[in-house]
Amino acid sequence: MTTNTTAAYQNSFLREVEAHVEEGAWVKMCMQCGVCAGSCPFGPHWEHSPQKIFMMIRAGKREEVLRSDSMWMCTSCYNCLVRCPRKLPITHIMHGLAHYAHRLGLAPKGQPTRESARLFWNNCIKHGRINELKFTLALYFKDGLAQGIKNALAMQGIGLAMLKAKRLNPFAIFGGHQCKDKSGIQKIVAKARELEAKRQEQAA
């Protein structure tokens, strides 16, 4: 048990979440019934359930919330969202919080979901579509060379079977398929970033 005294239950962090987190304005509407916590298939594996995350936001625990890995554990099953009696878009809020924490650089370092998302995004943006082989390899080797080889050896049975079934193209390592207008995709992303930055600026 810890003691919460700093800026406790002041609205400042709640307001910050409202302004910067996708669907963050819903956080204040939580009535703490706990249906989300009870519905989450990952319930036992989180440090903080959505219910607790929302209460922590209202209690002003900025660091604890943004450094939590709980929202990274969300598998987007949407159980909480369909069950919430107050109709909070909980899944979206979880993603919004994760995203906000990531942007601020507060999200837990090396968190597997975060890492996987980052690798996926970078891979995808580069060629306008995902290169499965490179993405898989990147995931294997994200914790270093030795671990990567270990991972690859552990998975070699599946890899060879996929090769045999022509579900895996080893030549994709040299580039693989790309979309027709790679620069067009990158322009779209750049524009989206620009719009988001503007929105954040207005909110702040």
Partner: protein, 749 residues
């Protein structure tokens, strides 16, 4: 008056004629019961059948009739004859529908039907046509005690319905607690914003109403009499006393806030810790000054914490143990006072369970939307002063936290202004009667502290319910009290908010109107509304034992100077508890007496012990148990054909003579079926079933003298929905009786 002529009408409809031997029944009515006219009809409740009866009443001089057809609870309109006494033999619900089908049961089924016919004929012979209370009390003025929102609403509702109203208000102005409020919670969609209270407008309407008369700065000095003829002395602060006569009384004396000084641990009594009423006055002051809410020391409030359940729902026994119901919504409202003026003010509500009855959930949501922070926690300590602090355990985050605030609001509960506790009064009075001087002084104090100052034998106020709230038949008839014609309304009756109080007031006004109308017509009030019979007492046989005066649940019976019972018929609810209590059986009703039931008990044919057919008497309360028996029939549940059920007004009306008569005339067992007793009673007459159980405990000695097993008398609490259970109980009891053997008393009766 013409001679009595008795007739029996037997219905063969609804399959009665197919299963029962109607000719045999007719013969019994003629030969055994000596009914002057006996007729049967294939469909008695149709126009033709009813016309036969009407003709006999009009042309043949029939005055008393027994209708052997369905239950007395069915076809009441068809078989209502204003000029005749009617008894009903329950052949359909009581025999046809509950005795198992098949030829092997024909004999016991027919015996049961014949007994019910005998009982019906025996009953009607002892009945008289009730003439109504000749002592009509015709005052229709309604007195409202208390001029708050409840009292004003009751007054307006009664006055708008055409009745003259008097309001007695202790303070100098109308409005009560609502006048202290800045705003009230919303009563109507979209339930989003706090609303003006409307107290001033209502007070203006009341003051200007042609049929409402105000007595401000006044209290009651004495209330005597009964519905339709209450004599009330109204004492002014100045000392002058006005005497008035009123028909009914509504007690709308409201509540007081629980004393915040009793909560030192929560900062009660310290600077900048206020109760909800305290915050209302800060909000009013702010609104009058046209600014934001400031503390008493003039500092603007930027952080405010609301502590819910302060001194409420307390398990330690030091404070209120109940929830006052309104305080969560009130705190929500008060938090929005701050948020509406400035959304940057931090408002935190610390609750145990947020309870917002009615449509309060929408209001809660609207406050959340405005940014009020709600957190579930238990507050352990509040310190007041320049900078207040609230230490609590957050039950969601499972951690201790301390909040700093400019102002702390404690949601304390409602304490009813219900006057004097009658149980305390009775204790003190007993001591005073025994010559205890201190008790006599205390008795005077209690009388002075009472609201109504009733001149009743039973004490100066209505009895108090749980936690000191004014009386209420909480489970079934919340507006009813044990003082006929006096109705409690608003938070004096149970904790409630303004909206509920105003609804309550309307209900009480309607009750009061019914009471004066019934009193004026010489009829009973709830629950035997319209009953024209009333208790008739043969004083020459009275032994002044006082049981009737003590046991009457409604305080209807006073004592005169010679210590004889003095019945106030308008206060009487016709339950017959006095009749059940009377050891010398001098109290009766024209159509319900020791004889009407006693003769039914005697009318049953008791087979000798070699026939091995037990006979079990059921005395079933007409309010719940008898309907449950009927319903068992309606659902075609079967039970033993060895029982004979008699509906009674209330288990309280059971005179032990019926039980001893039944046992000594050879019945093998007696089942008494009444309503739930105790604190959460369901007895329509509140104490009736409790009295019956008490008396039953005394009957065991008699049974020992008769060398009968105590199991031969049983009592059960039956709810109206217990139809399956009642059938099972009967069958179980018949099996039990067979096990202990038939009564040795057969053949002596």
């Amino acid at each position: 008056m013409a001679d009595n002529k008795f007739a029996a009408y037997i219905c063969a409809g609804c399959g009665i004629g197919d299963t029962l031997d109607i000719a045999a029944l007719e013969k019994i009515a003629q030969k055994e019961c000596k009914m002057a006219a006996v007729k049967s009809h294939p469909f008695l409740c149709n126009q033709e059948g009813v016309q036969i009866i009407k003709n006999d009443i009009a042309n043949e001089g029939v005055t008393h009739l027994c209708i052997a057809a369905c239950s007395r609870r069915a076809k009441t309109e068809a078989f209502a004859f204003a000029d005749a006494c009617v008894s009903r033999a329950n052949l359909r619900e009581g025999v046809l529908w509950v005795v198992a089908a098949g030829a092997e049961h024909d004999e016991v089924r027919q015996e049961m039907a014949e007994d019910y016919l005998r009982m019906g004929c025996a009953e009607v012979k002892k009945m008289k046509q009730p003439a109504g209370n000749p002592d009509k009390a015709i005052n229709r003025t309604i007195l409202v005690v208390g001029g708050g929102m409840t009292g004003m609403t009751a007054a307006i509702e009664a006055a708008e319905a055409g009745y003259a109203v008097l309001i007695v208000e202790k303070s100098a102005a109308l409005g009560g607690f609502a006048r202290q409020l800045w705003k009230r919670v919303p009563f109507a969609a979209p339930y989003a914003e706090a609303q003006p209270t409307g107290a001033d407008e209502l007070a203006a309407r009341v003051s200007g109403h042609a049929r409402i008369k105000l007595h401000l700065n006044s209290t009651l000095a004495e209330t005597a009499g009964a519905p339709g003829r209450f004599q009330v002395k109204i004492a002014q602060e100045s000392g002058s006393v006005t005497e008035v006569v009123v028909g009914a009384i509504i007690q709308a004396t409201g509540f007081s806030a629980y004393d915040i000084n009793k909560l030192p641990q929560l900062g009660g009594g310290q600077a900048n810790v206020v109760d909800q009423a305290g915050l209302e006055s800060l909000a009013r002051n702010a609104a009058l000054a046209g600014g934001v809410i400031k503390r008493a020391d003039g500092k603007e409030v930027n952080r405010v914490v609301f502590v819910q359940c302060a001194g409420q729902r307390d398990a330690s026994g030091q404070h209120l143990s109940y929830c006052s119901g309104h305080c969560c919504a009130t705190s929500i409202k008060q938090a929005t006072y701050f948020k509406d003026a400035n959304p940057l003010v931090d408002t935190v509500v610390i609750y145990q369970d947020l309870r917002v009855p009615g449509m309060g959930e929408d209001f809660y949501r609207s406050a959340q939307d405005k940014g009020v922070v709600f957190t579930k926690g238990t507050v352990s300590k509040v310190s007041g002063g320049g900078s207040c602090s609230v230490t609590f355990k957050d039950l969601i985050l499972d951690e201790e936290a301390t909040l700093v605030a400019d102002l702390v609001v404690l949601a304390t509960g409602q304490v009813p202004n219900a006057g004097t506790d009658m149980e305390l009064w009775n204790q003190v009075s007993t001591d005073a009667d025994n010559g205890d001087e201190a008790a006599k002084t205390r008795q005077q104090e209690l009388r002075a502290a009472s609201v109504l100052k009733l001149a009743y034998r039973q004490g100066p106020d209505m009895p108090q319910f749980k936690h000191g709230f004014a009386d209420s038949h909480f489970i079934c008839f919340p507006y009813e009290t044990r003082r006929t014609g006096i109705y409690a309304a608003g938070p004096t009756r149970r904790p409630m908010d303004l909206d509920q109080a105003m609804t309550d007031a309307t209900g009480a006004a309607l009750k009061a109107i019914q009471a004066v109308e019934n009193a004026a017509a010489g009829r009973a009030a709830h629950p035997r509304v319209g009953d024209l019979s009333y208790p008739i007492v043969r004083l020459e046989g009275c032994t002044q034992c006082k049981r009737c005066t003590v046991e009457c649940p409604f305080g209807a019976i006073d004592e005169d100077e010679r210590r004889f019972p003095q019945f106030n018929e308008q206060r009487c609810r016709r339950c017959g508890t006095c009749m059940g209590a009377c050891p010398v059986r001098v109290i009766s009703f024209e159509n319900y007496s020791c004889d009407t039931v006693g003769m039914q008990i005697k009318a049953v044919n008791i087979p000798d012990e070699f026939e091995e057919k037990p006979r079990i008497l059921i005395l079933a309360c007409e309010n719940d148990a008898y309907p449950a028996l009927d319903m068992a029939g309606l659902q075609r549940l079967t039970y033993s054909a060895y029982v004979r059920a008699i509906p009674i007004r209330c288990l309280g009306s059971v005179n032990t003579v019926w039980i001893t008569d039944a046992l000594s005339s050879g019945y093998d067992g007696v089942m008494m079926m009444g309503c739930k007793k105790g604190d959460d009673y369901q007895c329509h007459f509140v104490k009736g079933s409790e009295m019956a159980y008490y008396r039953l405990s005394k009957i065991e000695d008699t049974m020992k003298q008769m060398s009968l097993e105590p199991e031969r008398v049983q009592s059960h609490e039956i709810a109206i929905t217990d139809n399956a259970r009642v059938a099972r109980l009967i069958d179980d009891y018949v099996a039990q009786i067979k096990e202990i053997g038939l009564s040795p008393m057969k053949g002596f009766g």
